[in-house]
Amino acid sequence: MSDEVFFSAHQRATVEAAMARIIPSDDLPGAREAGAVDFVDRYLSGIAFIYAKPDGSGFETLTGRQADAWRQRIAILRQTYASGIGALDALAQKLFQANFIALNERQQDDTLTVFDRSGSQSASAGGAPGEGPALQQTLTETELEFLPLLVMHTRQGFYADPIYGGNKDRAGWRAIGFPGPASLMEVYTGRYSALQWFARGEAERYLEANRDA
């Protein structure tokens, strides 16, 4: 549970390769360039990186029942990854007689597609829609199978605040045009405002009306 990592070299390479097919690079960076694998490797390393401090100055130390729950959760997720990576390689061997990382991109896509169909959950089970409008997370992360879990963590590693180790250079936010805050501190202090993305003239009107506030 040390060093911010959990995966073996082979596991890490496999996860990184799969993430690169889940959010591929195009004319803009994808999951590989954004460091999504660093995000998940650190997440699985223990319970030292679960919650960033809200001002971005570090990470919270968990205690008591909350720490117990997170230890339990991380242990379950590690197991899902370890067996899922093994199953992905086994499928790659069956289809193309090589481990997943040795395949070309098309073969990797084919392998993931077959893997996806063989699961009992949809690949989007960890991220909502597809099946309905999710207003909130009622899913339990520990109940996800490998592929939906990996898809969810890839999205998180691409789009979560960079403090968690992914979304490097805000690659995810840039890709979709989300002008997120420069840092958690910007939100914490109230300097971050989304008013300029409101209807035309509203920001000026609001600021003028509250000039003395």
Partner: protein
């Protein structure tokens, strides 16, 4: 676990310090009563909140952790219940108001007499409320003014008469609200700025609300949004008579020889058991947990749970349901700005209309798609992974919005909360089990509202509209009501019109549990107004020596 020294007896013990508990605490402590507040969760301050989508939405920083606080759910009593975080609400001082975006519409006068208006609905237990809109109106105003609600009086033409304007003008207009207003106008439908628990100007010494993107489901590090945590809790504490104890999990209520409640037994943060005595006890745990605590409090007098001689505790539960039509626009609309829920609504299809072929209706409003931030935004039929998924994110993130509904689900006798016979929480107590099958009317009304939502998007110029109908009730609103309904007849209700148990003279419930019907609107304003009304009655009753 040992029994620690007993705290002093209080006039009133309130269990739960969310919207309703905080309101009651303020009203009672200001009237001179000593109040012990027992809250199972932490007392967090704004310094612990931040703009962190991963922590707040995905990692249970504010939501209950399902490994500690599971619930179970099933469709009927013949099914096996499965573990699911059904209808969660943050468990902490401030409760759901800590992370809400604070839509605070009033119920309409019709809501209080729907049984009379719509008649009997087969399979449902529709009931009029024992209180009227007019009785609640002064309390609506009081809450709106305490919270500095931003809104426009008279703009919702289906609203009942009001004694006062809103204290703050509407919030600024988002681009997605602009689309909503345009769509409604084109159709000739009334729309109005959603009344919101946020300050559009300086108010009561508080600064105007920071318009962030991290609002819905985020705590507010700036303290400029309005919540029970930053309005009623400090007001109550200021009186010197409100002893709020976080981390105190009430396990049961005990009776005295006369059949009144003697004490609440709770486990504190050290794992020690403490007994709190009081003259009266107010349940404010949210409708699910309030019913659970009543059912956990078994005694010789009440073998099936406290005040449950009628077997009605936990029954008639309603949860609303949130679903939406999702539209894509050519121009960017940034439906994450402001948090995704600022702010345009319509009650055009809210009140009952016998010509529609179903009973009642619901609140329709503009919103971002789901939680409209990068991790959790996703279109209903979007591919989960691959080049097409990335292209979808790139093309549509800033061009999508929802027109969403709050479904008015019908109360039914067999839809209920009870205790699971296998699953326990991290404190060793049986968890709440939700048994729920939607009424045919719920599905019909839902289709109708989603179709209207789609028409608004069409009329606003959306280039593509997808309609997502609600096919079951999933608890995704975090609204919960009806588990201890109030009424004048003890055979059909748990509480009387003052939210006092018919069977126990010093037991009250003031969260959503007294609601005879869920209505089609966000409930917290009415929950708080009702809690204040009840608190005043408690003060009055004590003054008269009863």
């Amino acid at each position: 676990m040992t029994l620690k020294k007993k705290p002093a007896r209080a006039d009133i013990c309130i269990i739960g310090a969310g919207a309703s508990g905080a309101t009651a605490a303020r009203a009672l402590s200001e009237a001179g009563m000593s109040v012990a507040g027992l809250e199972r969760g932490p007392w967090r301050t704004r310094e612990t909140f931040g703009g962190d989508e991963l922590a707040n939405i995905n990692r249970y920083n504010l939501w209950p952790d399902p490994l500690l606080n599971p619930r179970t759910t099933r469709a009927s009593k013949n099914d096996k219940a499965r573990v699911e975080l059904f209808c969660p609400v943050p468990q902490m001082v401030g409760g759901g108001t800590v992370h809400w975006q604070g839509w605070l519409p009033r119920f309409t006068p019709e809501d209080f007499r729907l049984r009379t208006i719509a008649g009997e609905v087969k399979g449902a237990t529709l009931a009029d409320w024992p209180v009227s809109y007019d009785e609640l109106e002064p309390y609506y105003s009081r809450i709106e003014w305490a919270f500095g609600v931003s809104g426009e009086a008279g703009a919702n033409k289906f609203e009942g008469p009001r004694s006062q304007n809103y204290p703050c003008p509407p919030l600024p207009i988002s681009r997605y609200a602009e689309k909503f207003r345009k769509g409604c106008a084109a159709l000739g439908w009334n729309s109005f700025p959603t009344p919101q628990a946020a300050l559009s100007r300086s108010f009561n010494g508080r600064k105007p609300t920071v318009i962030s993107a991290f609002a819905q489901q985020h705590g507010d590090p700036t303290g400029t949004r309005s919540s029970a945590l930053n309005v009623f809790i400090p007001d109550a504490v200021k009186t010197g008579r409100f002893d709020l104890r976080p981390g105190c999990y009430v396990r049961e209520l005990t009776l005295d020889g006369a059949g009144k409640i003697k004490s609440a037994i709770y486990e504190d943060g050290d794992g020690d058991l403490i007994e709190q005595e009081a003259g009266a006890f107010i349940l404010a745990c949210g409708a699910v947990e309030t019913a659970r605590l009543m059912l956990l409090s078994k005694s010789g007098r009440f073998p099936n749970g406290l005040a449950n001689g009628s077997d009605l505790v936990g029954r008639n539960v309603t949860f609303h349901e949130y679903s939406a039509a999702v539209g894509l626009f050519d121009d960017p609309i940034y439906a994450w700005a402001g948090g995704g829920y600022v702010s345009a609504s319509s009650f055009q299809f809210y009140n009952h209309d016998p010509n529609r072929g179903h009973v009642s209706g619901g609140h329709i409003a503009c919103a971002g798609v789901g939680i409209p931030l990068p991790i959790n935004w996703r279109l209903p039929d979007a591919p989960a992974w691959g080049a097409a998924a990335k292209k979808n994110d790139r093309d549509n993130f800033n061009h999508s919005m929802a027109v969403a509904m709050v479904l008015h689900d019908m109360p039914q006798h067999d839809n209920r909360v009870d205790l699971d016979d296998e699953v326990k929480d991290a404190w060793g107590l049986p968890v709440a089990r939700v048994t729920l099958t939607p009424h045919e009317n719920d599905l019909k009304q839902g289709r109708f509202l989603i179709d209207r939502a789609g028409e608004i998007l069409d009329a606003a110029g959306s280039r593509r509209v997808q309609k997502v109908y609600a096919e079951r009730i999933t608890g995704n609103c975090s609204h919960q009501h009806g588990t201890a309904r109030m009424g004048d007849d003890p055979a059909t209700s748990v509480l009387n019109r003052w939210c006092r148990a018919h069977e126990v003279d010093n037991l009250y419930a003031v969260d959503g549990s007294p609601f005879p019907t869920g209505t089609g609107a966000n409930p917290t304003l009415t929950i708080m107004a009702n809690a204040w009304r009840v608190a005043e009655k408690i003060v009055e009753r004590r003054g008269s020596g009863r």
